[in-house]
Symmetry: C2
Subunit: 204 residues, 2 copies
Amino acid sequence: MTDATVTIPARKGKAARLPAGRAIKVINTPGTQVVDTWAFVDGDMTEFMSMEHSRAAMNRLTPKIGDTLVTNRRRPILSVVDDTSGEVHDTFIAACDRWRYEGLGVEGFHDSCQDNLHAALAELGLAATETPSPLNLFMNIPWDLAGRIDWKPPVSEPGSYILLKAERDCIVAFSSCPQDIIPINGVGCTPQAAHFVVLDGAAF
Amino acid sequence: MTDATVTIPARKGKAARLPAGRAIKVINTPGTQVVDTWAFVDGDMTEFMSMEHSRAAMNRLTPKIGDTLVTNRRRPILSVVDDTSGEVHDTFIAACDRWRYEGLGVEGFHDSCQDNLHAALAELGLAATETPSPLNLFMNIPWDLAGRIDWKPPVSEPGSYILLKAERDCIVAFSSCPQDIIPINGVGCTPQAAHFVVLDGAAF
């Protein structure tokens, strides 16, 4: 990894500014780690990447290479330039939150992707007005034709990645999902760090 | 129809209070009409029915008889008691909005489900803090195993309905979808009125 590689610590979040035209490589370092992902328009936190608008724009349930995700005002925000992870991601499922862990029987505090989003933005002096439904990178939620869904470990190899290009100036935020009750982060139920690196236009 | 039947006018919205234990019958009067549907906790508009939390709770992409939809705090809010419409509904697609119609080439004003939600709540003296992804009743968005989706007319028969029971005191809001560019409201592309009636516990 280069000096420019940023760690998304295990169970925690990290945000960064991503200018238009640059790309961010989000790396599934252990191969088993789900990374909840958000993007907000730089300068207007009320406009953000929206799964329900993106599915309509893509005519697809999950993004593949060449697809463009859009905001809640239907403007392009991130496009998928490359993906070595197997192209298995999720747009169906909410970020985990305190109520999710309460429902799973956890007593007391548990890290959550929702808290991680807001903490990561706060590190940049920013605040979201809501918690958009995330793009859950590497999360494996298969579906069938009857509409049933299942919760499976990621299919990604260690070090595989997705490369997302900014279609406008944005703030990206990530959470290394702290889910350790069900095996969505691998059968070991052990959340681990993931990484990202911002690339300039000449690098991709 | 009884005196208690309420009209959701063509292209417009309507909201109502629905106390816990009561049910609301949402009727696809012409058979071809999509009805975007929201529910908010009475007394706290920041807690509302959430498609991304409901898919996780139901382990299903769309609700069927017996399923319970939950809020963004993962508490039950509406459950499906009965459904004569063919059980084809959508949870993937955002409410239509001014940007959707701009993208479809409409110049000037066009009614939208997003505007209808906020106008319907305003009639009750209420305001939503955001636009949750709606439960699109009767909307036919088939998917395949590769994740491709399509936009089809409803499969419901005229007068068919879904019966939703309130699991807590809530505000329900509906929009008779004004989409008249693509045939999501039937091949005639003619939005029409739908109806609802609130039933007490003895009636279902």
